[in-house]
Symmetry: C2
Subunit: 252 residues, 2 copies
């Protein structure tokens, strides 16, 4: 099952912010048995987001996770762009509006903001694409959205890491089922990665696995990660490589 990730934010394209969100999402999707095939990052621009969403949908992944651009400012345009990309209207959701109102009232009670009332910018966050299911934001104001569209499960999450992670855990992962990947990290005792290459290539041809090797300089060890659908495939591939003269240690 293939997945794609789309992160949105000018700060990611100017290099001001390192995109750790997409790594986090990738890791969680991988653990759930999805191959993340591509990550894309675009700025806070309706046309750019629309184009990227359209392209991803046309590649028909099972899952698309979008993160960023749900807040109240001028550059938070993700919901609008997603709605347009999917040919859906953007709808003011009364349930979301009530939650946002409550959120700001509570911030006001705590003395964190001066004005508890809903204004245009705050109301904006209560708009979701037609047919979307709201995803609860337990940390911030803006709700996320879950949309099933042409067999793609689309999740739209906030960009603030704390909000994104909470929503991913609570609202996204439970909708993705329980299937798991297995992965094992091994240290190959060998002086040069290039000597490992033919053995890895042969193992890839023989077994249902994927292997990633990490160059760790030119020391005595090379780190590899074997991915498979079960432990047995990993064990077989490992034994095969050991027979070919590769010495492994577990973990790194």
């Amino acid at each position: 099952m293939l997945a794609e990730i789309l992160t949105i934010g000018d700060e990611l394209l100017t290099g001001h912010t390192v995109d750790s969100n997409s790594s986090y999402i990738a890791q969680k999707l991988t653990e759930r048995g999805y191959w993340v095939r591509r990550k894309t990052t675009v700025g806070d621009d309706v046309e750019e987001i629309k184009r990227a969403v359209g392209e991803i949908i046309s590649r028909k992944p099972s899952v698309l996770v979008i993160s960023g651009g749900l807040g109240p400012t001028h550059d938070d345009v993700t919901m609008l762009a997603v709605a347009e990309a999917l040919g859906r209207r953007l709808i003011l959701r009364d349930d979301c509006l009530r939650r946002i109102e409550k959120f700001y009232r509570e911030l006001h009670k705590k003395g964190l903001i001066d004005d508890p009332e809903l204004n245009e910018a705050r109301r904006k966050m209560a708009h979701l694409p037609e047919g979307a299911e709201p995803l609860e934001n337990t940390v911030g104001a803006a709700p996320g959205a879950y949309i099933e569209h042409e067999d793609v499960k689309i999740f739209v999450l906030p960009g603030m890491p704390g909000e994104m992670k909470a929503m991913l855990e609570r609202e996204v992962l439970p909708r993705l089922g329980a299937r798991k990947f297995v992965q094992r990290k091994l240290l190959a005792e060998i002086t040069d990665e290039s000597k490992l290459a033919p053995v890895l290539t042969e193992a890839l041809e023989r077994f249902s696995i994927r292997i990633h090797s990490s160059p760790k300089g030119f020391g005595r060890f090379i780190g590899i990660i074997i991915f498979a659908e079960d432990e047995e495939s990993i064990e077989k591939a490992k034994s095969f490589m050991e027979e070919k003269g590769i010495l492994f240690e577990e973990g790194w």
Copy 2:
């Protein structure tokens, strides 16, 4: 002038590695006056890389920086994929081969590797797309490549951060000219980002600037970055927003 960045590596798609390379490249390109319009990440897969490169070329950015997948292992397939995407042959470069040979001899002399000789995996790194200019790797074995293709300046760099940064500094940036962007970080003293929104929107309409605002929770300040081609535009936009009641402090 638009730029795109393509990072390559399975480890970026499984979440094992946070893609700090693309942020670094983005920052350097932004400083040189390029708008980075999109970042893409794909795995170590010839077809995926070909597809991504083809799509990026069709969007006609001025610059495309590619990073990752130049090493000796089975999953280092970037040069092959780039050559195929551009409809060029992959050529064994004698000059690159000599440099790689020298590199391994020196590692051997230092006692870091057992075998100084060229083998298939090491020879692989001396292959560049036809018509490419090799980019010197002062840190590792694999050369990069510079290719002008349909008015797109394409740079292919290693994925190891130390190698990538050295090559970017020495080989890429000098080829990009001296034009600069100006950016200023300001702290807006305001209790809620949503109140700033209409003022930012008006400033964006009036001046040749781009603004990114960073939600910093719901405290007293909101960080914004103003980008422009000169200091004067930033100063004008700032004064305009101050007249509208926004209080600024410099920096954050």
